[in-house]
C-alpha cells in the first residue's frame, strides 16, 4: 500500500489532509516532515489531537524521513507524507532518490513576494523554479487541494 500521497501544504496536518484526503484514501499513517514541529513536543501534541486515534502520526526531519522511507513504502497501510513548504519537499525528493514518484501541491498561501498561480497556490520565482527542478528530476508534480478538485499539471499552473 505504502505512501499514497506526497503533499506540500503550509497548513500542515489539518482538515483537508485528515478528512479530505485521509478519508478518501483510507490512510493509516501521516508523516509530517518539518524541522520546527519535529523539535516541539507541544506542537506535536496539538497536531496529534486533530487526527483520529487509528491513524499514526510521525514527526521527522528530512534525514530521518530519508532513513524511514523504505519502511513507509513497504507499510501495509496507506500513508500521507507532508511538508510545509516547497524547499523541504525538494530536499526530501533529492535525498530519497526516486522514492517520491509524484508530488501534490496542496496549499501554499499568499505571502509577500508570491504570485497567484491557483486559488490555493502562491509561489515566488524561486519556489516555482524549485518545483520545476522536482519535476525534471522525474517526479510528477501536480496541484490539487482536495480529492474532488481538478488536478492541475505543473506546466499548466506555472504557465
Amino acid at each position: 500500500m505504502s505512501v499514497a500521497l506526497f503533499r506540500i501544504d503550509d497548513r500542515l496536518i489539518h482538515g483537508q489532509v485528515v478528512v479530505g484526503w485521509g478519508q478518501t484514501l483510507g490512510i493509516g499513517f501521516i508523516v509530517l516532515v518539518d524541522d520546527e514541529v519535529r523539535s516541539s513536543d507541544w506542537e506535536q501534541e496539538l497536531y496529534r489531537m486533530g487526527v483520529p486515534p487509528q491513524v499514526s502520526v510521525v514527526f521527522t526531519s528530512v534525514p530521518e524521513a530519508a532513513e524511514q522511507m523504505a519502511a513507509w513504502q513497504a507499510d501495509h497501510r496507506k500513508g500521507i507524507v507532508l511538508t510545509g513548504d516547497v524547499e523541504t519537499m525538494a530536499r526530501l525528493v533529492q535525498v530519497t532518490n526516486g522514492a517520491v514518484a509524484s508530488v501534490n501541491v496542496g496549499g501554499v498561501h499568499y505571502r509577500e513576494g508570491r504570485k497567484e498561480r491557483l486559488r490555493y497556490v502562491y509561489l515566488n520565482d524561486d519556489e516555482a523554479e524549485t518545483l520545476r527542478t522536482i519535476g525534471s528530476s522525474g517526479a510528477d508534480v501536480t496541484a490539487q487541494d482536495v480529492p474532488t478538485g481538478t488536478r492541475v499539471s505543473l506546466a499548466e499552473f506555472l504557465a
Binding site: 503550509d10 500542515l12 489539518h14 482538515g15 485528515v18 496539538l46 497536531y47 486533530g50 498561501h109
Partner: protein, 128 residues
C-alpha cells in the same frame, strides 16, 4: 467591573462571518464578537489576522473544529498570550450565551462556553 471580554469566532471560509451575523440578528449589535476567516492564510498569516482582531484585549476565541487549521492557530496564539483562551466546536448557542455574559473571567467564560455548547447538541424529534 472587570473588562468586558471580547470574542473572536475563527472558522473556515465564511462560517465565522455567518455565525456573527446570526448572533447580531438574534441578540442585537452589542455582542462583543468579531469574525476571522482562515481563507487564503497560511499559519503565519492567520496568526497575524488573529493578532489584529484581538488587539491586546482579553479574548475568548471560538474556533470551529478541533484538528483544523483554525483551532491550531488559535491554540498556538493562546500559548504566547496570557489573556487569550480557546474553545473549539463553536455553535450558535454558545455564542449567544457569550454575548450576554461577557463580564466574567476568561476561565469562567471558557467553561461556560463548553457547557452551553455541549448541552446544545441534542437529538430531537424522530419516531415514525
Amino acid at each position: 467591573m472587570s473588562e468586558q471580554l471580547t470574542g473572536i469566532v475563527l472558522a473556515h471560509v465564511d462560517v465565522a462571518a455567518a455565525l456573527v451575523s446570526a448572533v447580531q440578528a438574534i441578540a442585537g449589535t452589542d455582542h462583543g464578537l468579531a469574525p476571522v476567516s482562515n481563507a487564503g492564510c497560511d499559519r503565519a498569516a492567520l496568526s497575524a489576522r488573529l493578532d489584529a482582531a484581538i488587539a491586546g484585549r482579553a479574548t475568548l476565541i471560538f474556533a470551529d473544529m478541533p484538528g483544523g487549521s483554525c483551532a491550531f492557530s488559535a491554540a498556538s496564539y493562546a500559548r504566547g498570550h496570557g489573556k487569550v483562551r480557546v474553545v473549539t466546536g463553536v455553535n450558535l448557542a454558545m455564542l449567544l450565551d457569550f454575548a450576554f455574559h461577557r463580564d466574567q473571567s476568561l476561565e469562567e467564560a471558557a467553561a461556560r462556553a463548553l457547557e452551553t455548547g455541549r448541552s446544545s447538541v441534542t437529538v430531537m424529534g424522530g419516531g415514525a
